[in-house]
Symmetry: C2
Subunit: 368 residues, 2 copies
């Protein structure tokens, strides 16, 4: 891999490699949430070395306030940052932004991964241009972990690609399997391809071809076949593969349903003194349930298929959530997520290139 040129302002000796480069200025609560999150992460990850990038004048007082974060951070100053509503095309022009410098650090081999709670569109665009797509992968995808009734499930793509062809889906399966291995610690994760059940609809050609390819591939034994929407939370498979449009809708629909259930439940518990007493009696169990479903436990959507670990924290997260995103990044760095994909690809390669590629919706965009 060609090393990217690192700006002269890089605050360290050229041989030092940081565990993570962190965008100090990304997210609604930045920079405080980021620094507070790093203080939490410092206790969980022994030996972690963080390159913290952002406005030094804002970051220094926070590092004084959170000494545990200060102990693991080296600050790289820049006063440029990407706002949450900036268009990716504008963001790409800011060569000194905190997010861009974090990517530069990874591309230049000075950090193993990047975490940002900033603008996702900008982040995906920058990652593709700076860190670049991994050889053998046609398009990066966005993956995340969600709770199920049995354990956790890895789902991808969650929105990086509206249009996917059969080859993309096969690659998503490879990346999702590697992700479930390194982050969930599963030795042989099972994989499902999201489809719909009705008889008359089983004809989606790209899904059929992708399923056939997976079945004949080295992943064949782990490939469960088609799954439906309700299988996601049933934990039918450890990995659920779909196109970015469907994945994004499924993820957000699920979040919406959970929010509706929570709101209705709150009304039940607040409805009169008897219900309030009932609430107090079941509260310990409810707290455990809440913890299980806590979106912060799953904070950290990951861009997979790049030459480096790239984790996107939710923009509106708190310190605990940011620390969870750091956990995901560290798991990927420590357990050799990208090596695992490369290894698998070396055995899949012939199959994937031999298969007939069947395009999905919006074929024109597939070529981009």
């Amino acid at each position: 891999m060609n090393k990217t040129e690192i700006p002269d302002s890089f605050p360290s000796n050229p041989n030092e490699v940081f565990s993570l480069a962190i965008d100090g200025m990304g997210g609604d609560g930045a920079p405080e949430v980021v620094v507070a999150g790093l203080a939490v992460a410092a206790e969980r990850h022994r030996g972690i070395k963080v390159l913290l990038i952002g406005d030094e004048a804002s970051l220094r007082p926070l590092l004084t306030k959170y000494p545990k974060a200060a102990a693991i951070c080296t600050v790289w100053h820049t006063d440029v940052s990407i706002s949450m509503d900036m268009k990716p095309t504008s963001a790409l022009r800011l060569r000194q932004s905190s997010m861009r410098l974090a990517m530069d650090a990874v591309a230049g081999g000075r950090a193993q991964g990047v975490v940002s709670a900033g603008n996702s569109g900008a982040m995906l665009a920058l990652a593709k241009i700076v860190i670049k797509t991994m050889p053998g992968i046609s398009r990066p995808a966005m993956a995340a972990i969600s709770p199920t009734i049995k354990g956790d499930v890895v789902m991808l793509d969650l929105g990086a690609n509206v249009a996917c062809d059969s080859r993309n889906l096969v690659e998503f399966a490879v990346m999702g399997e590697a992700f479930a291995k390194s982050v969930l610690g599963l030795p042989a994760p099972t994989i499902g391809l999201l489809n719909i059940g009705s008889e008359e609809l089983k004809g989606d050609e790209k899904l059929r071809v992708a399923a056939e390819t997976l079945r004949e591939s080295p992943l064949g034994a782990q490939f469960h076949g088609f799954v439906e929407g309700h299988d996601i939370t049933a934990g039918t498979t450890d990995v659920v593969v779909t196109d970015g449009f469907t994945g994004n809708v499924a993820l957000k629909t699920g979040e919406g349903v959970l929010k509706m259930a929570t709101t209705l439940l709150r009304r039940v518990f607040q409805n009169g003194i008897v219900a309030k007493i009932g609430y107090l009696l079941v509260r310990p169990g409810l707290e455990r349930m809440k913890e299980w479903l806590d979106p912060r436990r799953y904070n950290g959507a990951v861009f997979v298929g790049l030459n480096g670990v790239v984790v996107k924290s939710h923009g509106g997260t708190d310190a605990e959530g940011f620390a969870a995103a750091v956990d995901v990044a560290m798991d990927m760095v420590t357990h050799g997520f990208n090596d695992s994909i490369r290894d698998r690809l070396s055995h899949m390669g012939a199959l994937v290139s031999r298969q007939q590629v069947v395009e999905g919706r919006e074929p024109a965009a597939s070529a981009s």
Copy 2:
């Protein structure tokens, strides 16, 4: 509309028009669930006249057991029925099946609508061939009602069409609006087009074109624009329009999440004696919540865009659920659902045909 030839076995004088033709043999619990459901429906719908189609030897004893159902039913005997796992192509060959005769009755003008809990693939295929697509509509869709935090939402397509183009989406909006009017009783339902949020993905061309067409149409004032997955249960709009693949996944994902939440909640309440007492105290509220989310309340997916009212009950439903499907069908018959679509189409026609049709995924299938 040309009248379909009705088989000689038709048990009534040719001028009698039934409210509904009911497939007595469709569904896991048929025929008893069907007859028991009709007994419930008989109390709710004054003057309802049902043509009940199926095996007379099985139906007669049930009508004796449920005299309220007997009071509204005329039996049309056939000993042919379509099994739940029969392929649509095989089902189409059975010209004397109970489902087919129910469709014949509607197509021949002897019944205003049909309800079946049978095989959905067969039902859609038969409806298209026998009852036929309404003039001005390119493809029928599957719609249903779901609960939200505020009220109910109509969602379509739920699986009749994997591949949708911009014109299909506009037509779904027209049909969804008419459905929300006749079944939810809303005077001017609002409409949302399901999309995903990320900046880089707003380029789905068929969604953009459909949105533009709706904005300029007579439905413009009711068109809210794009909505995301979480908006479905937030009740952001009264109607949510999407393609059949995404809609099916969203519906089933939502059902799965609700099931997960219910299972976790049950564990909370069963965890020790204190929690069990707590459960007893909040039970009345939980029962109301359960009732609100009860899938039986929403039983009845509707095939819209046909020359007649066609309601599909869930195959595994009980009598209460079957009665809810009958409610939906009766609402559509009584409130002139199809007239409402025809009226709207007469004002939309020029717009829809003028627009550039942008195809979605699987363009080949769009032509079928």
